[in-house]
């Protein structure tokens, strides 16, 4: 049995298992809530329950006063949901967040292509246009697969009646295996969206660095196309990482964009180049490509990262050593079911990264 918790004012949604605390569930699903002690004595993680019921758990009477209990305040680190909940937390809404409503859509698979040996492109037509911000994601209900699977939208919102996805085959992954092996054009799916806090911060005028790996290119492609199509004049740098040349997909499209727009710069990097491949570009990891391009001095940029957790981790370290910090680092981790299980214990130093 699990419950769904919606966080106001951001609209983030996460699932809580029976007996699991709100804080534990939120942090494991990448949603930051304020916290400090983690065991009910400090009160940093106070949230207001707006709808639904929750057991306050082992909250200290000094950290959660009686008058607060009467008003439906709980400590996220102790509270156990007893129904679906809407909570209000002391988290800021990003001024660039549009907050488009999350709705259910009926989608039809209208095109599929092999982008690389491991990544498939899927084009879905929706029963009605979805309003979204480039960088956000959708959840797919796949036949025979329990739960939903999240994929980033790869197209700009110029064609809102469609959703493009880039799906990497996860070895042993039920959802991606089904898409790679059993999905056909004409299939119908239920999808919902848009989700997520990954989108272009348009109110900030800093130049932009994208660092992407694998199918993480999807959200970056959507964001970059959106920026270029709307006449954004910031300098935009895209660092795309892949193992080898065949995995470096969409290279022609991106090279053409770089020729068309003088403010867009495309820097691909290959980490396992073989002798046979004709490669004049950067050899090494994608974060090293970015570091080398800026000679270790990246201050004054906004960075958007999307890809697998080790790439994100290496990129954050590189960025911070180059003096780009949390407030200017935005990311979408492409987690698989196996990544979630081995979450490390982490400190409260960072909120979002």
């Amino acid at each position: 049995m699990s419950y769904q918790v919606t966080v106001e004012p951001t609209g983030d949604v996460f699932e809580v298992e029976e007996g699991q605390t709100l804080l534990d569930a939120a942090l494991r699903q990448g949603i930051w809530l304020p916290f400090a002690c983690g065991h009910g004595t400090c009160g940093t993680c106070k949230v207001q329950v707006l709808e639904g019921d929750a057991d306050v758990g082992a909250a200290s009477p000094f950290a959660l006063m009686d008058m607060e209990r009467d008003e439906g305040v709980v400590l996220a680190c102790c509270a156990l949901p007893e129904s679906d909940l809407v909570i209000e937390a002391d988290v800021d809404v990003d001024p660039d967040f549009s907050g488009y409503p999350i709705e259910d859509y009926q989608a039809t698979v209208v095109a599929m292509e092999d982008l690389s040996p491991t990544i498939k492109g899927v084009r879905l037509q929706l029963d009605r246009p979805m309003q979204f911000q480039e960088g956000q994601y959708v959840n797919l209900n796949l036949p025979g697969v329990e739960g939903t699977r999240a994929f980033s939208i790869a197209n700009s919102c110029a064609d809102a009646g469609y959703i493009d996805l880039h799906v990497r085959l996860v070895p042993g992954g039920k959802g991606t295996s089904w898409i790679h092996q059993s999905m056909h054009t004409g299939d119908e799916l239920k999808i919902s969206g848009p989700y997520g806090q990954f989108f272009v911060r348009k109110s900030d005028d800093k130049d932009v660095i994208f660092i992407v790996g694998g199918s993480g290119l999807s959200s970056a492609l959507s964001m970059i196309q959106g920026m270029l199509e709307t006449g954004d004049t910031r300098q935009i740098f895209l660092f795309q990482g892949a193992r080898n040349l065949v995995e470096l997909y969409k290279r022609e499209v991106l090279t053409a964009l770089a020729e068309q727009y003088s403010n867009f710069h495309y820097i691909p990097a290959l980490s396992e180049v073989s002798e046979a491949e004709q490669w004049n570009g950067f050899c090494g990891f994608v974060h090293e490509a970015a570091n080398s391009h800026f000679d270790g001095r990246l201050a004054g940029h906004k960075a958007y990262l999307c890809g697998p957790p080790p790439m994100i981790d290496a990129a954050i370290t590189m960025l911070m050593q180059g003096r780009v910090f949390e407030a200017d680092i935005h990311m979408e981790k492409f987690l698989t079911a196996s990544d979630g299980a081995k979450a490390d214990s982490r400190s409260a130093l960072f909120k979002r990264i």
Partner: protein, 516 residues
Amino acid sequence: MVAKKLNLKDKYSLLTRDLDWDYDYADRKEAFPYEDFEGIKITDWSKWEDPFRLTMDSYWKYQAEKEKKLYAIFDAFAQNNGHLNVTDARYVNALKIFLTGVSPLEYQAYQGYAHVGRQFSGAGARIACQLQSIDELRHVQTQIHAMSHYNKFFDGLQDWTHMHDRVWYLSVTKSFFDDARSAGPFEFLIAISFSFEYVLTNLLFVPFMSGAAHNGDMATCTFGFSAQSDEARHMTLGLEIIKFLLEQHEDNVPIVQKWIDKWFWRGTRLLSIVAMMMDYMLPNKVMSWKEAWEVYFEDAGGALFKDLARYGIRMPKFVETTAKEKEHISHQTWWIFYNYGHAAAFHTWIPSEEELDWLSEKYPDTFDKYYRPRWELAREMEERGERFYTQELPQLCTTCQIPMAFTEMDDPTMISYRASDYEGEKYHFCSDGCKHIFDQEPEKFSQSWLPVNQIYQGNCGGPGVEDVLRDYYKINLGHDNMDFNGSPDEQRWNAWKGTEKDAKNKDAKDKDKDVA
């Protein structure tokens, strides 16, 4: 029409940072004279992220509720003679150390935050410090009230402010905070908010509060929970200050690293007293010091320093020494106090057979080999009527002010001795960590007020040790000091509990009448 309710962020901003003003006829630098001299570079105070958003109106509302609840429990505790419910009178000696050694630090924290809360030109940082300052004042007051009940029935609690300023082992805690408060405002925050309140706070609070809870001390346990509910603000301020300094300018990184190195080591030395309390002074044990160190520093601190590494901050200097010290430090510290038990305002004792077994189990690699034989010898001597007290005054470490009795961690039979020369004088240290701290700031630490040196220089009365203890420290000789065995505390306890018949001490009778 109903007015739209401001959200927390807007409300906080209007009621706090917005109350700051620009300086048009005064020089901002003159108004905040301490902001520059540490070498810290702040390029943009507006980047300070408020670690908590609490306006004064809600602050008073919440704190008043906490106080009502807390004092109701204190009253109930006193009316029910709550002191009779503690596991054993030996436990109260931990409270004596807390009240004389730690509660005055809460007061120093109140003063320190009030001071730095004036010295930052950024309004966000000023407000965070001012609120913490008020919290700290509340903490010292609640601690005094929690322990005032014990003062009616036990020795050694009667003159704690006086003792804090003078007594040799209390200078360990006092000088720690004096050092922080006489540093610049940014170092103060890294020392207290970050290194102490964030990195090491659980090692101080968990032992004391769980210790109280495990030993039937409801008053102390409750004030602990009440204080913990304020700690959130203090911990988040510690996190914000370090992020803010590291992000403001790259030149700040080596300065912050130097402070982390210094205050981590200063903190571990201060905590050696907590270590001995956990392993030796609690009749009902919570966990061993070694276990506490592993959980609260090695695991939790490890995750923190992994994150800090992204800023180019490494683990504190000498952290590898602490991994060895956790096996030894509590035993060596209790041994120091056992040796000097005649000069302390609390009691010491030899662990019981059961306690020795517990220590053997918790410290399989060191206790039987190095420490158990020592306690067994002390017991034999005591049984022969030869309980000994070391009569010589000890040499003190110039930095941490603890007697120089810690050993080399790779050779626990050899006293660790380090020295530095500065302006023709020789200074002595208990460890590489303490020597390193001195060498960084010899002009500061060469002025240390070292209790033993001061006694020998004749600045503490005398001429004999007893004169100093009685007249200068105001220790009530024969009551506050010496072994727990045979102490008035023990005799009164036995009389109250009806456990021994020889509780005929006159003094015990005097105090007894309050309880009857």
